[in-house]
């Protein structure tokens, strides 16, 4: 029974997406409650799977019982289950928030469609994590990008259309690059199953180095585009800032991370450490990560739209994760994984709190945040916690990420990276602190001096508080998570 859970998870999401149109006319709350139920079911089954994987070890699932040479195979190991659990948990929180705030700019008749897209998005993300097949990954990636672009353009505003178009163009180039890489690998090995391809690549490395080298180049670039690694970040700020707040949170906190996880899978499971080091991909990754960490922050400093600022901040934070990958060591990978978690939490908290401000006060400009802390204390406290995490203040997850990354950099003998880490942290302070200061310490026109909990729906407040609490809780006790992540990193090799 447990071995059937992965496919049940996938089908639950897909089925939910298909059912929503039937409910649409009757009741909106029925739809959301049912969706929440489905999410919780998948959450529980993910926990069961995690327990199973840790105690009994990884297992394979052949779709339709086809042989792995021909058919699609799912691989359920610590890596895939842990991250699917992360995705589902974070999405549950954001989902609850979105039931209060799906309204931001979305027409009422679109609610149902929004949730359809959300569940297809979840289906694709889980599929990407579970699948053990390169071509299947491509298909899921395309499902993911088409749902993403639909979510971006759901608001029916002109900036949404341009942002969506920009996204779709660049991402399609990325997908095709990835597919080209798959084709090159298929040419040598004759398979698309990751493990079989990996065997073929290892034995074919001396025979066809040119093919493999080109394949690495195209695949890394292709996924780099989708993961918004620095020079390809150009689509991200517009796309993430124009989307409705709750989906900005999902896009920034989860979707981008999924692409990074694909990259990790490809680098470490398909090619293996020896080959990627032989072609100096780590150097490329470290260089673009470092530039991205600095440049992303500098662009973020200059933004006046708070959501665009958060988008650029994501660019910088993706740099941290890529840096961890680029160290090509167990510690580096563990640090990258941890930062995926911690950035997921922090960025979700930031987008949701800013979303609450936009919802309640209709303010998007950074310069208009004066005194917001008195009017919306909960949202701005959560914002502050997450922003301090971004700077790397102890007691938040950001500090642990920074510590882990720094130690991994020392372990890899790259002291320069620590300097980059510190400079980037300081630049983060340069754009997050003024917002916090003006929110809590400056007076606004209303002259409201006494803090009063803002009047926004409870479904928006509770997720915010939960996220803030999680940031501090994991920042205080990261030990358990880190050991799980170590197991996940081990399961890649």
């Amino acid at each position: 029974m447990i071995t059937q859970l992965p496919i049940i998870n996938l089908l639950l999401f897909l089925g939910m997406a298909l059912i929503i149109p039937l409910f649409k006319k009757r009741s909106f709350s029925l739809t959301t409650n049912l969706g929440l139920g489905v999410l919780f079911l998948v959450w529980i089954s993910s926990i069961v799977l995690l327990y199973h994987v840790i105690t009994e070890g990884a297992f394979y699932y052949q779709l339709g019982n086809y042989d792995r040479m021909l058919g699609i195979e799912l691989l359920i190991n610590t890596f895939s289950v842990l991250f699917s659990l992360f995705i589902v948990s974070l999405v549950i929180i954001i989902y609850i928030y979105s039931t209060g705030d799906a309204t931001e700019g979305v027409a009422e008749k679109e609610y149902g469609r929004y949730y359809i897209l959300l569940f297809i998005l979840l289906f694709a993300m889980l599929g990407i994590l579970y699948t053990n097949d390169l071509f299947n990954t491509y298909v899921f990636m395309e499902i993911l990008s088409i749902t993403t672009v639909s979510i971006i353009s759901i608001k029916r505003k002109k900036e949404n259309y341009t942002a969506a178009f920009r996204y779709v163009m660049l991402n399609e180039v990325g997908s095709l690059s990835y597919l080209f890489g798959v084709a090159l690998l298929y040419m040598i090995t004759g398979y698309t199953n990751i493990e079989l391809v990996s065997e073929g690549v290892q034995s074919g490395w001396s025979l066809y180095p040119a093919n493999i080298l080109t394949a690495i180049g195209f695949m890394v670039t292709g996924i780099g585009i989708k993961a918004a690694i620095f020079p390809f970040h150009i689509w991200l700020p517009d796309a993430h800032s124009t989307a409705p707040s709750s989906s900005s949170a999902i896009l920034s906190a989860v979707v981008v991370k999924v692409y990074i996880l694909i990259m990790i899978k490809i680098l470490f499971r398909v090619f293996g450490i020896d080959i990627i080091q032989a072609v100096h991909i780590p150097t490329v990754l470290l260089v673009i990560a470092s530039i991205g960490m600095i440049m992303g922050s500098i662009f973020a400093i200059a933004q006046t739209d708070v959501k665009r600022m958060l988008g650029y901040s994501s660019v910088a934070q993706i740099g941290y994760i890529v840096m961890g990958i680029g160290m090509v060591s167990m510690l580096g990978l563990q640090a990258a994984f941890f930062h995926i978690f911690s950035h997921g939490l922090m960025k979700a908290a930031l987008f949701l709190s800013v979303g609450a401000v936009i919802y309640h006060k209709k303010i998007r400009n950074v310069n208009e945040f004066d005194g917001i802390g008195f009017q919306m204390p909960v949202a701005m406290f959560v914002f502050s916690i997450a922003a301090l995490g971004m700077i790397g203040v102890p007691l938040t997850t950001g500090f642990i990420s920074k510590l882990n990354l720094g130690l991994a950099a020392l372990d890899a003998g790259q002291v320069v990276l620590i300097v980059v880490l510190i400079v980037s942290g300081f630049l983060n302070a340069l754009y997050y602190l003024p917002i916090m200061i003006s929110a809590f310490l400056k007076d606004n026109k209303d002259q409201q001096r006494v803090m009063r909990v803002e009047k926004i729906p409870k479904t928006m407040l509770v997720p915010l508080v939960v996220l803030g609490g999680l940031i501090i809780a994991i920042g205080l006790f990261p030990g358990e998570l880190l050991s799980l992540l170590e197991a996940a990193a081990l399961s890649l090799t």
Partner: protein, 126 residues
């Protein structure tokens, strides 16, 4: 001579690469959104051609089991199957982007990227 042989042997790969570069060139140089979509499609075709060409076996017959000829060498059917899926994906993306172009034309009154960029930056300055 050997160079020419190699050229002829790999003509499908070379053709695919050429198509890829043509498509990319279209995307890079044109600011008309429709033309950019066309560029993407050309790139897609290049990758599909490449993929299908891998599956080719010299002297192979289409992979339809022929009872009368048990020694027949079939070409690899799997790439073709995969590419069928790929084509569906690219078509859907194309359709979506074309519909976006329609929307952009409705809201901006133009489908030229330069002009749209100019309009957006003016919007932001205000």
């Amino acid at each position: 001579m050997s160079f020419l042989d190699a050229l002829i042997d790999h003509i499908n790969y070379i053709g695919a690469m050429a198509l890829f570069v043509i498509g990319l060139h279209t995307v890079v140089t044109h600011s008309n959104l429709i033309k950019r979509i066309m560029g993407i499609n050309i790139m897609g075709t290049a990758v599909f051609l490449f993929f299908v060409a891998i599956g080719n076996v010299t002297g192979g017959v289409p992979p339809i089991i022929d009872q009368t000829n048990p020694d027949a060498v079939y070409i690899n059917p799997l790439p073709s199957v995969l590419i069928l899926t790929g084509i569906v994906v690219v078509v859907s993306i194309t359709v979506y982007s074309l519909s976006l172009v329609i929307r952009i034309y409705e809201t901006h009154g133009t489908i030229d990227q330069e002009e749209i960029a100019k309009m957006t930056s003016e919007d932001r300055d205000q």
